[in-house]
């Protein structure tokens, strides 16, 4: 294992038991992220992005969720094997998480300051007063006046709440931040504010970040690496430039073509036919094969392995296997 990798996920499988059947939310997922790197994690609804993030944090609700197999190495240690106590030390301190919806990620009955202090007091050995001062400092950092530290979440707007959440996640200067669609619920102008804030803070603190999103525009803005996810596994992984200039997997291509462009006029968008698979359906062969315009006979039978197009760019598709 290379040492510059901060986080490395190997063959992760997560399932959920539901009324309809077993949902294979994450299927043999492989992923890695180095120090000070920002990884964009892109995929449609239900692709398993959140599940992956929760697996890293060891927060998959069990039942109904279950991590079937796989390893998640964080600084050389398998997070799935260490004790709960040790994991709690890592949660928040080394890895912190920002949730999708700022409206629901803050406890409505606790003051903002208390919620930030909770994080600080858990991981730093300081008293309440110092923690409070630190919380105020963090609020200022994300652009909220410290006078508002004692307000309740409902007194804040969506963008401010998301900034508070960011402040909480930064409180212990973690090595890795997992941000699960941090701006999806926000308006464009506010999204721009929050994104630029995140970018600045990331640069300032030198943290690594996994940014989960379905918006390729957002990825273009702040990520270094991109992983495209489809039906529970990563189908393409590359540095941002490589991916945007040379999208290789048919799904990635379709994704790019589906987006209305701002700078060109086109009559019709190119669409990916069909629908994403049902979560409970088990598709033999490549999961994308029913929608793939280049589908070959082989794709319906075998699962494609990883093909490296380049040192920093791999894709799971038979089209590239022999090149």
């Amino acid at each position: 294992m290379e040492n510059n990798k901060l986080l490395q996920i190997m063959d992760l499988c997560v399932t959920y038991k539901t009324q309809e059947g077993l949902v294979h939310a994450v299927n043999n997922l492989n992923l890695e992220i180095s120090d000070k790197e920002t990884l964009g994690f892109v995929g449609e609804t239900g692709a398993g992005k959140t599940t992956t993030a929760m697996a890293i944090m060891r927060l998959i609700p069990c039942p109904p969720g279950k991590i079937e197999k796989g390893k998640i190495f964080f600084e050389g240690e398998d997070l799935l094997k260490i004790s709960d106590r040790k994991m709690r030390k890592i949660q928040g301190k080394d890895i912190s998480m920002i949730f999708q919806d700022p409206m629901t990620s803050l406890n409505p009955v606790m003051r903002i300051s208390e919620q930030i202090m909770e994080m600080i007091l858990l991981h730093k050995k300081i008293n309440k007063k110092e923690a409070y001062a630190e919380a105020c400092k963090l609020l200022e950092l994300v652009g909220i006046k410290k006078e508002r530290a004692d307000d309740y979440p409902h007194q804040f707007s969506g963008g401010m709440k998301q900034r508070v959440v960011i402040a909480i996640s930064l409180a212990c200067s973690p090595k890795l931040i997992i941000a699960d669609e941090p701006t999806t619920a926000l308006d464009v102008t506010i999204q721009a504010q929050v994104l630029s804030l995140m970018k600045d803070l990331k640069d300032e603190f030198g943290t690594s970040m996994i940014l989960i999103t379905h918006d390729l525009g957002v990825v273009a803005e702040i990520c270094d690496k991109v992983a495209i996810m489809y039906a529970g596994s990563v189908v393409e992984y590359a540095s941002k430039e490589k991916l945007y200039l040379n999208p290789s997997h048919p799904y990635t291509k379709g994704l790019f073509n589906s987006i209305p462009k701002l700078d060109t006029d086109e009559e019709f968008l190119e669409e990916i036919d069909g629908l994403p698979p049902e979560p409970t359906d088990v598709i033999s062969g490549c999961a994308f094969n029913p929608r793939c315009p280049y589908c070959m006979e082989r794709c319906e039978k075998e699962k494609p392995g990883i093909t490296y197009l380049d040192k920093e760019h791999y894709v799971c598709c038979f089209l590239y296997e022999n090149k």
């Binding site: 929760m54 944090m57 927060l59 609700p61 039942p63 994991m87 709690r88 030390k89 890592i90 949660q91 928040g92 301190k93 912190s96 998480m97 949730f99 999708q100 919806d101 629901t104 990620s105 803050l106 406890n107 409505p108 009955v109 606790m110 909770e118 994080m119 858990l122 991981h123 309740y152 409902h154 007194q155 959440v165 909480i168």
Partner: protein, 307 residues
Amino acid sequence: MSKYLVKRIGYLFVTIAIVSFIVFMMLFFTPGDPATLILGNMSTEEAREAMREQLGLNSPFLVQYFNFVKDLVLHQDLGTSYITQRPVLQEILEVVPNTLILSFVAIVIAVVFGVALGIISAVRQYSLIDAIVTVFAMIGISAPIFWYGLLMILLFSVQLGWFPPSGFDTPSQMFLPCLALGIQSMSMIARMTRSSMLEIIRMDFVKMARAKGQKEVWVILSHVFRNALIPVITVIGLQFGMLLCGALFLEVIFSIPGLGRLMIESIKMRDYPVVMGGVFFMSLCVTIVNLITDICYALVDPKIAKS
């Protein structure tokens, strides 16, 4: 907040005024002649007529109601019982402490155990203990209170002889009725706590608290519980009306001198002033408890505190 309180209290008075009117109207149209009941069936018609005159039962409905309100407002007087000829207020105040003690102890039992059981079963959803609590709660809600009150007497007083079956002076006398009354509300509260906890437990901020590295116990207590409390408080408030009804049965079964029994007897005896007073008092209690729950609400939920 104070403005809110003033408004609420104003509303409370309006409610009670209308409640009293409705009850008065209902009593007015209730068959049964108080004079006959007071004097007994051996009395003469003249005596009864005189009694009706004396009680003001011959005046039209609105006049009677007006007199009632007048006495209430001018003299803070609920009138005199037809039967015992004592001031209604005194009659009520004599029995009300027992009812209140009964309800209060029951609600404390209910809240303490109900909430605890609710939390446990929510946290251990689908576990054995959850199943046990759920079944227990279902039993508590479904079993008629007058039945298990009786069974409790049968078991604890008759078979085991641990607690006396009647009276309400000593703690040992109070134990059984309070427990019986508490069980029912406890079941309600346990279930409510469970479901509202389960709803909250799925929310993002709970995951967030866990992601902070917080211990599960604290996640539950400091994040989930306080939020889950809000609907639970409503239930507790609503429970109070039910509790007064349950208390009524237990007052009958355990021979406790309480408001419920006074009411039943007065209704049967057409002792209108006492009935009016009792309804008045019960509505007052219910409304005050609602007010208190609303205030607790505000204390727990900062959103409401503001407005």
